[in-house]
Amino acid sequence: MSQRLRRRYIAVKIESDHPVEERDFHDAVWTSILRLFGEYGASQAELALIEYDPKMNQAVLRCSHKVLDQVRASIVAVTGVQNEKVATHILLVSGTLKSLRRKLRTQKAPDRVAPAL
């Protein structure tokens, strides 16, 4: 019997003086994971970019719940995209995309802190 994969959805705010392309951001997060945890660690992350809103400068990433700590540290460690300075802040972490969207909608302040799951 196969076990259901448990995932975590992470909403990220990207701050930059220049527009950041979806693909460049995705690459930057991957590079950060590879630098910090190597290829083996990156393979366990099962990282995927689910949504990217260039207007709001927000992204939603998905990862395996087992490596959430590693992925959060890697996202925070991103300091540049395509040689431009970038600061990333984790807004929220949730178990389902639906609840993440609901929490994002209901939060009043745009950069509410993420609860530690």
Binding site: A73, V76, A77, T79, A87, I90, V113
Partner: protein
């Protein structure tokens, strides 16, 4: 209500605009208090400028001085002259004798080891035992973790892992601070707590480093610097006329 303090902001004091940006960014990111590191011999005018920026940004301003003495005697001399002027005193230890003296002196609030050279990181169990007795805290700056890459970062992580483990064993409070000189290196306390996973601090321990441990230092020193402080444990609670003997 949670109180978050970043006790180590390093703006270029001559550039008021940059300092303002940094302080405003701290307020945006959810900090309640910031400590700005001043050099020895700073003018009062400069301190007042930074204080005004903090007040307009809605932040509690904490005065801090970073001492980098060459020997224990010069550390003691600086402490004698500066302890009553600043709310937080941090000693950046570049030699073992200075590190030992700083760890056992109750006038020191924070000890920090900024050198990337393993021969200049003196936070061992003996140092931790002294710091624990004198309630001196270990400060960990987070910005080098964002600035460095590759071998240098992995080496720094290895030092920090070892030092935080020793600090936890000896019950030395760990204070996390940004050490940021530019706004792009500033993160929310929670983001830094996620990053501290890399050197073995769990989320709650890291958050304590930004909240309770920092607040304890500031509150303790403000009490001591208050005109109502007489001696440890003795405070003036009310002023009035002399008692008349009946």
């Amino acid at each position: 209500m949670k109180f978050y303090a970043d006790l180590h902001l390093c703006p270029t004091l001559e550039r008021t605009d940059e300092a303002r940006k940094l302080i405003q960014k701290s307020a945006e990111l959810g900090y309640d208090a910031v400590g700005v590191a001043f050099p020895v011999g700073v003018e009062q005018k400069r301190i007042q400028e930074i204080r005004d920026i903090c007040v307009t940004s809605g932040l509690d301003f904490v005065t801090r001085i970073d001492l980098t003495p060459n020997n224990p005697a010069s550390l003691l001399k600086s402490l004698r002259s500066l302890r009553r002027q600043f709310e937080v005193i941090a000693v950046l230890c570049h030699s073992k004798t200075v590190a030992r003296q700083a760890a056992k002196d109750r006038r020191v609030d924070l000890i920090s080891f900024p050198s990337p050279d393993f021969r200049k990181r003196f936070f061992d169990s003996a140092e931790a035992a002294l710091a624990s007795e004198a309630t001196v805290s270990l400060e960990v700056d987070m910005s080098p973790l964002l600035r460095l890459q590759g071998f240098q970062r992995s080496r720094l992580l290895s030092f920090l892992r070892r030092e935080t483990l020793i600090a936890k064993k000896s019950h030395v409070p760990i204070v996390l601070s940004s050490g940021a000189s530019t706004a792009s290196l500033l993160k929310k306390p929670q983001d830094y707590a996620f990053l501290s996973y890399l050197f073995g601090l769990d989320f709650s321990e890291a958050m304590r480093g930004f909240s309770e441990n920092s607040r304890t230092i500031v509150d303790r020193n403000r009490k001591k610097l208050s005109p109502n402080h007489v001696a440890p444990g003795v405070y003036i609670i009310r002023r009035g006329e002399d008692c008349h003997n009946g």
